[in-house]
């Protein structure tokens, strides 16, 4: 189906999201073909013909309304069906927040992403936070991203994870994901945020737990030296 065109999924819930997208695609495709065929059929069948003259016809209210109400009910039924099928997915992705192994603060600003890691004790705001422009996360662990904006509305989007969440100034929004495959991926902003919106990208590096720990300690010691150098 349509989800074959997407980049390969690398998150635990991405498969569910792809299923919902495929379901919506099928429902819409059926309605599209049906509605357009009817339109073409009516246009040809009721075209102007010799011997048939248009007449004033007030119409029958219920027969007219049935052409509106019956399709509306069918569309509503499809909609509720999609809701029923997708409800569990929504609950997984947006409704629940499994306990985090790693928490990263993600700040969007015109026109870059900033990834803040806590100090060695897992605390933010102690002055020993690690600020990075590339996001590193361990594979197969639940990651919380705490999204904040410094200026306008942004949207944190990682296509490979099927994760997309608006970043609203004045609010802290927590989203989560669990990557299942190591590699380098792209994060983007998917909410028009100004002239250089197109360039608001960053890299997401999914590593094994060992590689991640090594990267984190290397960054911490480099950062420690930098701040020590700045202080002296």
């Amino acid at each position: 189906m349509i989800s074959r065109l997407f980049p390969a999924n690398i998150s635990t819930y991405g498969g569910q999201i792809d299923h919902v997208i495929d379901l919506i695609f099928v429902v819409i495709a059926v309605w599209f073909v049906l509605a357009q065929s009817l339109l073409v059929y009516f246009a040809i069948h009721y075209r102007r013909k010799p011997g048939i003259k248009a007449a004033f016809y007030r119409g029958h209210t219920w027969r007219q309304l049935s052409w509106v109400l019956v399709p509306a009910m069918l569309v509503l039924a499809c909609d509720l069906g999609i809701d029923a099928a997708g409800g569990a997915t929504w609950e997984t992705v947006k409704g629940s927040l499994p306990p985090a192994a790693v928490t990263v603060q993600v700040t969007g600003q015109q026109f870059s992403w900033q990834f803040t890691y806590p100090d060695a004790n897992g605390q933010f705001g102690t002055g020993k936070d690690l600020v990075e422009d590339t996001m590193h996360v361990p594979v197969n662990q639940v990651i919380h991203v705490v999204l904040q904006s410094a200026d306008v509305i942004h949207d944190f989007y990682v296509p490979d994870l099927r994760l997309k969440q608006d970043v609203v100034p004045g609010r802290k929004i927590t989203a989560w994901f669990e990557a299942t495959k190591t590699g380098e991926y792209e994060t983007a902003c998917s909410q028009l945020c100004g002239p250089a919106h197109f360039g608001m990208q960053a890299r997401l590096v999914v590593q094994t737990a060992v590689d991640y720990a090594a990267w984190l300690s290397a960054e911490r010691s480099a950062h420690g030296k930098k701040t020590a150098g700045a202080a002296s």
């Binding site: 007030r58 119409g59 007219q64 028009l192 100004g194 002239p195 919106h197 197109f198």
Partner: protein, 242 residues
């Protein structure tokens, strides 16, 4: 149950205003059919402008970084201005004027058997307000920092703070054009909401299309003056009104 149809036609001399000169017949006309065609003309002209923009957007996407015939190199800020203006034009200056202004003005009086709209001069004023709004919107491209580029949805704070987008006059003229466009459609829908009916016309026998149009108009009259007022206020004071 078939509705009973009573044939009750207005006398011919009451159906249309007396013929005047070219100006009063075709330019500053108060006839709902002429006004409907003027709405249609403005809408179709603006669809050509919006269509030209989509050509620029699509060619730019197909061959990024290369100059586009008819414009030249499209810088990121100009690209966003084109996207914003395309959305604004297609929604507010093509779809709405044609659906409400043209079809509403042309069909509703005929469907309910009315002679014309209730306020023909207000109706005429509204089509010319739309024309002025279109000129202002197109004119915003020629301001020093270009047309509005905050998206047709205009989400604040991006659209509210000039330094975020780099447009000051562009976004102000965009607001003014939208405020005028909304006022125009409020006037014309308000006029048709109260169009004098043929005596035999009663609500239960109204065609369903006419009834859905009534609902649309009732909602417009409730919602749009508020929108328009806020936009005008934002334009005049330079700060978003709440």
């Amino acid at each position: 149950m078939e509705a009973q149809v009573q044939v009750n036609v207005w006398p011919v001399e009451e159906q249309h205003p007396a013929k005047g000169g070219f100006l009063s017949n075709y330019v500053f006309s108060v006839d709902h059919k002429v006004i409907a065609k003027q709405y249609l003309a403005v809408g179709l002209l603006m669809s050509l402008v919006g269509g030209a923009m989509v050509y620029l957007i699509r060619v730019q996407l197909a061959w990024p970084g290369r100059p586009v015939a008819g414009w030249g190199f499209i810088a990121p800020a100009s690209y966003l201005a084109l996207v914003t203006m395309h959305g604004t034009i297609m929604v507010f200056f093509v779809a709405m004027p044609i659906l409400l202004g043209a079809f509403g003005n042309f069909l509703i009086p005929l469907m309910i058997g009315a002679r014309d709209m209730a306020f023909p001069r207000l109706n005429m004023l509204s089509v010319w307000t739309l024309f002025a709004a279109s000129l202002i919107l197109i004119g915003s491209f020629f301001t020093p920092d270009g047309a509005a580029s905050a998206g047709w949805t205009g989400y604040p704070p991006l659209s509210a703070v000039p330094s975020y987008t780099g447009n000051y006059w562009g976004i102000n003229l965009w607001l003014l054009a939208l405020a005028l466009e909304f006022s125009s459609l409020v006037c014309t829908t308000g006029a048709s909401r109260t169009a004098p009916r043929k005596p035999s016309y009663t609500i239960p026998t109204a065609p369903s299309a006419r009834r859905s149009a009534s609902w649309v108009k009732a909602l417009w009259v409730i919602e749009m003056p508020l929108n328009s007022w806020r936009m005008t206020g934002t334009f005049l004071t330079g700060t978003p009104m709440s």
